[in-house]
């Protein structure tokens, strides 16, 4: 199990750096096992450095940079071991237009092996979906599901 963990850690770590560079258009990200502990117990430190910037603590990243880094880690794990499905509730809310586009491209690439369910208010993300469900409360307090075409959803 020690071997298994180390192998998973190394491969996810190299995926993490790769996906991070794709999402940020450069830069560097990695996980580190905390030195002083045994491999089977050690916690994981994460460092993320957007392109052209100095390395700061994770805390100093912006709201959008934090969300994008967390997405990179999640997809790095999926690359090692795809999850059959994944539901994401408004993960695109902190992202600007450019980063939303990059996120969607990544999503489309991974949606071959993973089924994604995306809750969103963002029109660009709606456009990436092959099926779109609208939830309405015409009767106040009672949710109903309707299948919508993109044009209707955008009007919401």
């Amino acid at each position: 199990s020690r071997e298994l963990f180390k192998d998973a850690f190394e491969r996810i770590n190299s995926n993490f750096g790769e996906v991070f560079r794709v999402l940020f258009g450069g830069g560097h990200a990695e996980m580190k096992l905390m030195e002083d502990e045994d491999v089977l117990e050690a916690g994981i430190e994460i460092s993320a450095q957007p392109p052209g910037k100095k390395l700061h603590m994770l805390l100093a990243l912006s709201g959008g940079e934090k969300a994008l880094t967390a997405i990179a880690l999640l997809f790095a794990i999926f690359q090692y071991k795809p999850s059959p499905f994944c539901l994401m509730d408004e993960v695109d809310a902190p992202l600007d237009e450019t980063n939303t586009d990059r996120f969607i491209k990544l999503l489309e690439a991974y949606s071959v092996r993973t089924q994604f369910i995306l809750i969103t208010h963002n029109v660009k993300t709606m456009q990436a979906a092959s099926t779109l469900y609208g939830i309405t409360m015409q009767e106040r307090g009672v949710s109903k599901v309707v299948s919508v075409k993109l044009a209707e959803a955008v009007a919401v």
């Binding site: 969300a67 880690l73 489309e108 369910i117």
Partner: protein, 161 residues
């Protein structure tokens, strides 16, 4: 494995029988604030065995049962069924079900017949879905993965190993 269908009745704001069909690729869920989008996410977490009322945004588990509106009275039961397609070529169907009554009685189902929570957890494990933190990112939680304690982050990697 793939998600095929979600059927719910009496779960939070979904008072009437509701069905969502999922197809491969990306499915979007849209709608105004407070219309019930995150309730769908809570519903999937619940039918797959979630035990904490707080992580479903309630105080006690009965809070997930439709509690009524100005015009409708509260219901006495919530029921959800999630149909998964498993096996190499997705030809085997697996239906995971859960039901809760207002008096607190709770039931789990696999392909229609009653089972224990443990059976549901075993099935999920066999399908390779992993823990919730791996396949369900709740609203406002995307930054949490980074803010988690180093030992909690380790769990995420161990899960995958």
């Amino acid at each position: 494995l793939s998600l095929n269908r979600l059927e719910l009745v009496g779960f939070k704001s979904f008072c009437d029988k509701t069905e969502l069909i999922f197809s491969p690729g990306i499915t979007g869920i849209v709608g105004p604030n407070g219309c019930g989008k995150s309730n769908v996410s809570d519903c999937i977490a619940w039918v797959l065995g979630e035990q904490s009322a707080k992580s479903l945004r309630g105080e006690k588990m009965e809070d997930i049962i439709f509690s009524g509106t100005e015009k409708r009275g509260p219901l006495g039961m919530a029921q959800v069924a999630l149909t998964l397609k498993t096996g190499l070529t997705d030809q085997k169907e697996l239906v995971v079900g859960r039901r809760l009554f207002r008096d607190g009685e709770s039931q789990y189902f696999l392909n229609g017949s009653p089972c224990r929570l443990r059976d549901i957890q075993d099935v999920i494990f066999d399908t390779g879905m992993g823990t919730k933190s791996y396949f369900l990112i709740e609203q406002g939680r995307i930054g949490q993965i980074l803010q988690a304690k180093p030992t909690d982050r380790r769990l995420l990697i161990e899960e995958a190993a």
